[in-house]
């Protein structure tokens, strides 16, 4: 017979009350673990998306930087154009390792979806773009022969949506341009999965945008002072500089206010759970007032009684905490779907990443909160005078 087995049996005495309190703790642990997982997953996803762009700075024609950032992450581009000669200007900088020009164009496709939708095409350079996006792998075929070829490479999801395979034709609606599908990419978990890549010169010709670009991806050499480099780019006329660090900061600041509210809700959930623990354990102490007196008459020191009640709290919080973390792992995908539905921009990949560290952190927080809640009931129990308790029960 140990204090732990006594504590365990005491908790089983009122099964429904114990289960409800543990459920309250589980709920707060679930909220906490999910939110911590979301915080981690969102940041990881954003970093991954930005890293996978293959370049650290994007140059666009002057316009709204937020619009440019969002469109860029969505696989789109700014609405204005810059001249192709910008490639030479930027390439001449000794800190630039590589540049890749891009031209994004879209057409309305009346046959897409129920009432038509925009089909977007990204014109990329056949030489520099594949080097920057070296992580892209082909499921079938490969990149286009050159920048003038009427060929297309489809991202994994784009190929499924368009129901195209290698050798199939791809028609750009309204422009009578027919392209040959030469490559289909494997799933990358990035925005490239939904993109249709075309050779840049071909896009310029099809859409009558010869000599025009919507974006210029810039990869800088290692050890470059990014802030100084960006300042140099600001001196160029009629261009907007969007650094990936800026994009990340901008998006993170946009979601941070939402996170504060959500964390406040989590904090309130934890406080409510703690109040539930205090209530349950205190009620249990009051109900067992006489029993505690008997334990003391049999040799239990005040510290023994304190340990007993605190152990009950610890067992309750451990059960609730573990159940909540288990629940957060089970419901991560469903919660992710809900978050994606409500947030205007979400990065690719796992949005809610509940790993061992987050699970341990959430459990530790809940456990510590629970132990804190158990202090007062345990102190009350430790102060019980055996004689008064036994008399009280006798009366």
């Amino acid at each position: 017979m140990t204090i732990y087995s006594i504590a365990y049996k005491n908790l089983l005495r009122k099964k429904t009350r114990t289960a409800l309190t543990a459920a309250g703790i589980a709920l707060s642990a679930w909220v906490l673990a999910t939110l911590l997982g979301f915080n981690r997953g969102y940041e990881n996803g954003l970093n991954r998306d930005i890293d996978n762009m293959g370049f650290q700075v994007l140059l666009t024609a002057k316009g709204c930087p937020y619009e440019a950032a969002t469109l860029m992450l969505k696989g789109g581009t700014g609405l204005r154009y810059m001249e192709e000669k910008m490639i030479r200007t930027v390439s001449s900088d000794p800190e630039v390792e590589a540049v890749t020009p891009m031209l994004m164009q879209g057409v309305f496709d009346p046959n897409k979806g129920e009432s038509g939708a925009i089909s977007a095409y990204l014109g990329v350079d056949a030489l520099t773009f594949p080097r920057m996006k070296s992580y892209l792998e082909f499921k079938q075929g490969g990149w286009f022969r050159d920048n003038t070829a009427y060929e297309a490479v489809l991202g994994y999801e784009a190929a499924e949506l368009e129901q195209r395979e290698i050798g199939d034709k791809l028609l750009i609606p309204g422009l009578e341009a027919e392209l040959l599908v030469v490559g289909i990419l494997k799933r990358s978990g990035t925005q490239d999965d939904g993109t249709i890549f075309l050779p840049i010169t071909a896009v310029q010709k099809i859409f009558s945008k010869t000599g025009k670009l919507t974006g210029l991806g810039i990869k800088v050499k290692k050890g470059t002072d990014m802030a100084a480099f960006e300042n140099k780019l600001y001196d160029l006329p009629d261009v907007q500089v969007v650094s990936m660090a800026q994009v990340k900061t901008t998006i993170m600041s946009l979601v941070s206010s939402a996170k504060v509210i959500v964390f406040a809700i989590a904090f309130i959930a934890v406080i409510i759970a703690m109040a539930g623990v205090i209530n349950t354990i205190l009620m249990s102490v009051m109900e067992r007032y006489g029993e505690i007196g008997i334990l003391k008459s049999m040799g239990a020191m005040p510290l023994d009684v304190f340990r007993l009640i605190w152990t009950e709290t610890a067992v309750l919080c451990s059960l609730g905490g573990l159940a909540g973390i288990g629940l957060s792992l089970l419901t991560a995908r469903a919660a992710e779907a809900a978050v994606r539905h409500f947030l205007p921009f979400t990065p690719n990949g796992d949005l809610i990443a509940v790993d061992a560290r987050i699970a341990a952190l959430a459990f530790g927080f809940i456990f510590a909160g629970g132990l804190l809640s158990g202090l007062y009931p345990a102190w009350r129990a430790a102060r019980v005078r055996p004689l008064e308790a036994i008399r009280g029960e006798g009366d």
Binding site: T2, L12, K296, S297, R383, L387
Partner: protein, 224 residues
Amino acid sequence: MNAILSAKGLVKIYRRGSEEVRAVDGVDFETRAGEMTAIIGPSGSGKTSLLNILGCLDNPTAGTLTVGGETIFGGRRELSEGELTRIRRPNFGYIFQKFHLIPTLTVEENIALPSAFYKAPGAAEDPHETLKRLGIMQRARHLPSELSGGEMQRVAIARALINSPRILLADEPTGNLDTQRAGEIRDILRRLASGGMAVIMVTHNPDLAEAADRVIEIRDGKVR
């Protein structure tokens, strides 16, 4: 033989508002190992108050108490709950009228309960040995709610014996039992005293008092 427990001039005063009640009023008492003492008297005479002080469950207002040669109360400050517990652990076992078994624990768990908090050095009592000795071995895995009153009191006695105390205190041990069960408990207590334990009991039961080596009558807090 030396007294195992000795009290001189014990006084216990309770206050009810402005009224002062002398529950124990200058009681001298002593008992030896192997002696069975019955404290009798009408309700409200101070029997239980005296027993609680003798068992270190309560501080006296005045007087001295010596247990095994060690002075516990002697006009000093009131002892803390922890200090009283330290004194009670190796010296006393308690039996109550209402048994006070823990309802969620089985018989054997109830008996082993004191050892969760304290194991007396050299305590010879094994829960199963005690259960056998008290004739309730077959009830070891039962919950208190499945026992008769007599069985519950035997379990309470077994629990009190687990740490081999020197003194067994019993407050109305047969108060909730029929004549036959009360007789069984009387025999058990008698055997324990014959085995060398000092047994002090408060009782209204004349049979139980008759079995004692010594009977003390209390009236209005004083020994008659």
